[in-house]
């Protein structure tokens, strides 16, 4: 049995002009100790997928499909039952360390909170553990920092505090939503390294959400590329990056700036941008959502959602023109 099995997950949010389908049929599974990345542009539904796993959709959000954690169907649980899992078995690290910590509580108190809640530790015992955790995540002068308030810490230190908080109860699954996006580049590498080390050290499963292909390539074993609420390509990182199959993944890869001017997708000198814009989730076209921006699109692409097609072992892409795209490599 997999640790996490997500099947045909759909999320409908309340938008300003009526309901919006933010996630449209996402399926994947994850074993204990496995790591996977969700990559895509902002608004592609990757964060909503993560929040749906925790049952923390914004007000008015509706969830369909199935999320099984150790065989338990999470979508059927009450909020009270979910609370026993959150922060305990499944933990999350958020994107903005600046705003994700309560400004009025010391970080020691905030890290100790899940320990008191799930482990029933006294506040003193929890404080001791919090000090150890802060030390483990590389906070300089950890014990003295227990009484520090978030505004007294740097961005990197706050993210370390948030990671310590997520690790407190030794979860089986860690979800990290753009954990390094708000940080300086030098700090980004340190924080990623810390996450990878901790995941291996504790045998956690990891879902890493990022818009940064480089981060994904260096950190996880498997990658899922999301576009307009669906996974369009998925497979082992080495295989996928070795042979990108979906035109959207290719566009995403070609849009990475590279030092030296060499580009994998386009010619020299100019950065390849994906033409057009992300479609409005409230008014998606029928057929492939990427068709309007795709150089390979044919009328057939607009008829129906393309099914996932095998590219290689454990590697698939949902593209109706897969043969033509792969053939274009020559």
């Amino acid at each position: 049995m997999s640790l996490l099995e997500v099947n045909a997950l759909r999320v409908r949010l309340r938008g300003p002009d009526g309901p919006v389908e933010a996630v449209r049929g996402v399926s994947f599974s994850l074993d204990r100790g496995q790591t996977m990345g969700l990559v895509g542009e902002s608004g592609c539904g990757k964060s909503m997928t993560a929040l749906a796993l925790l049952g923390l959709l914004p007000e008015g959000g509706l969830l369909h499909g199935s999320v099984r954690f150790e065989g338990r169907e999470l979508t059927q649980l009450s909020d009270r039952e979910l609370c026993r899992l959150r922060g305990n078995r499944i933990a999350m690290v958020f994107q903005e360390p600046m705003t994700a910590l309560n400004p009025l509580h010391s970080i020691g108190r905030q890290i100790a909170e899940p320990l008191c809640l799930h482990r029933g530790l006294s506040s003193e015992a929890a404080r001791g553990v919090a000090g150890e955790l802060l030390h483990r995540v590389g906070m300089p002068d950890a014990r003295a920092r227990l009484d520090a308030y978030p505004h007294q810490l740097s961005g990197g230190q706050r993210q370390r505090a948030l990671i310590a908080m997520a690790l407190a109860c030794e979860p089986d699954l860690l979800i990290a939503d753009e954990p390094t996006t708000a940080l300086d580049v030098t700090i980004q590498a340190q924080i990623l390294e810390l996450i990878v080390d901790l995941v291996h050290e504790r045998g956690m499963a990891l879902i890493l959400i990022s818009h940064d292909l480089g981060v994904i390539a260096e950190t996880v074993e498997r990658v899922a590329v999301m576009y307009a609420g669906r996974i369009v390509e998925m497979g082992p990182v080495a295989t996928v990056f070795g042979r990108l199959a979906h035109p959207y993944s290719r566009g995403l890869f070609a849009a990475i700036p590279r030092i030296g001017g060499g580009r994998s997708g386009g010619g020299r000198g100019r950065l390849a941008a994906i033409p057009g814009r992300v479609p409005d989730l409230a008014a998606l076209p029928t057929g492939c959502a990427f068709a309007d921006r795709c150089g390979h699109a044919q009328p057939v692409c607009r008829l129906a959602e393309p099914p996932p097609l095998a590219v290689g072992p454990e590697h698939w892409a949902a593209c109706g023109r897969l043969d033509a795209v792969l053939a274009s490599d020559g």
Partner: protein, 316 residues
């Protein structure tokens, strides 16, 4: 922290000095001669001049201002012409009614507003929220003196639980005196509680959208625990700000309410002083009101620092 305190204290003193100057100048340019008011229109020029000299009105304005402020600073409020007695005991006696009244109204306001506001926010977009908001809208729209009359009709005339007005004095015992203040305090609190409840609700709703609230939920805290542990204290800053302003409103509100309930308070004293043209009394009571309001705001500033550690850090 000491810099924070010193800066707030300096602001407090500057505000008081400015208030005293404005009060003095306004009364200076106002037509009408206190000596004439005291002696009546029949008085001869000589007696008027004699009284002016006795009151110090013949001296230049700047000199009189400085003398007045210097006396105020030592706690000397001077003499009331209309009552022919020292002003401070007069004020002190009235304060014993008005201050408890205002504090009681403020406590009532705070308790009502926090309960209703938080409850409404926790039941956002549900019938309870809509009902509380509708009632508070009504509360804001009702003038306090009219609500006071309704309260008198129901609780004093119809049910007979409280007296319709008057004040027995604290010497007659604590409970009878307190009882006499219940209806006026309720009348004063209604509008303020309605306003504060709306502020509380929106502050709580605003805070519930913060990232750290989502973090707290992701830790496994239930909705109620998140509300009490993470939302409420963060939502308190705007609420406390409004409370500070409201205390000032309550003080001035006593002028009307003390008339309705015939309470011998500071508000009534001001009302009578204005009709008597008792300039010395008006000046001093106005500055006293200003002093109370500014002190409350000073207290609010201290509260900010107690609520939010970031404010302490910013000012040091």
């Amino acid at each position: 922290m000491s810099v924070f305190l010193a800066r707030r204290l300096a602001t407090l003193l500057a505000t008081l000095l400015f208030t005293s100057l404005v009060v003095f100048l306004v009364l200076e340019v106002l037509p009408g001669d206190p000596a004439e008011v005291i002696l009546g229109t029949e008085a001869t020029a000589e007696t008027l001049a004699a009284l002016r000299a006795k009151l110090g009105l013949d001296r230049p304005a700047a000199e009189r201002y400085v003398t007045w402020v210097a006396a105020l600073a030592t706690g000397d409020f001077g003499l009331s012409h209309a009552y022919s007695q020292r002003i401070w005991p007069l004020i002190a006696e009235r304060m014993a009614v008005t201050l408890p009244l205002a504090v009681m109204a403020m406590v009532l306001t705070t308790v009502l507003a926090l309960l209703l506001g938080v409850y409404a926010a926790a039941h956002h977009n549900k019938p309870a929220d809509a009902a509380i908001m509708a009632v508070s809208q009504l509360g804001i729209s009702i003038p306090s003196f009219w609500f006071a009359i309704l309260l008198i009709l129901l609780f004093a005339v119809e049910l007979g639980w409280f007296s319709a007005g008057g004040f027995p004095g604290w010497s007659k015992g604590f409970w009878p005196a307190l009882q006499a203040l219940v209806l006026p305090a309720a009348a004063l609190a209604l509008v303020q509680a309605a306003i504060l409840a709306r502020i509380t609700r929106s502050a709580v709703l605003e805070t519930m959208r913060e990232d750290y609230v989502r973090t707290a939920r992701a830790k496994g805290l239930g909705r109620d625990r998140v509300l009490w542990r993470h939302v409420l204290r963060n939502a308190l800053v705007p609420v406390v700000t409004i409370m500070g302003l409201q205390f000032g409103n309550l003080l001035t509100g006593t002028i009307v309410i003390e008339q309705v309930f015939t309470l011998p308070g500071l508000g009534r004293l001001v009302f009578q002083a204005i009709s008597n043209r008792d300039l010395a009394l008006i000046e001093n009571v106005t500055v006293l009101f200003a002093f109370i309001v500014v002190s409350i705001n000073f207290l609010v500033d201290l509260l900010y620092a107690a609520i939010d550690p970031r404010l302490k850090a910013r000012d040091v």
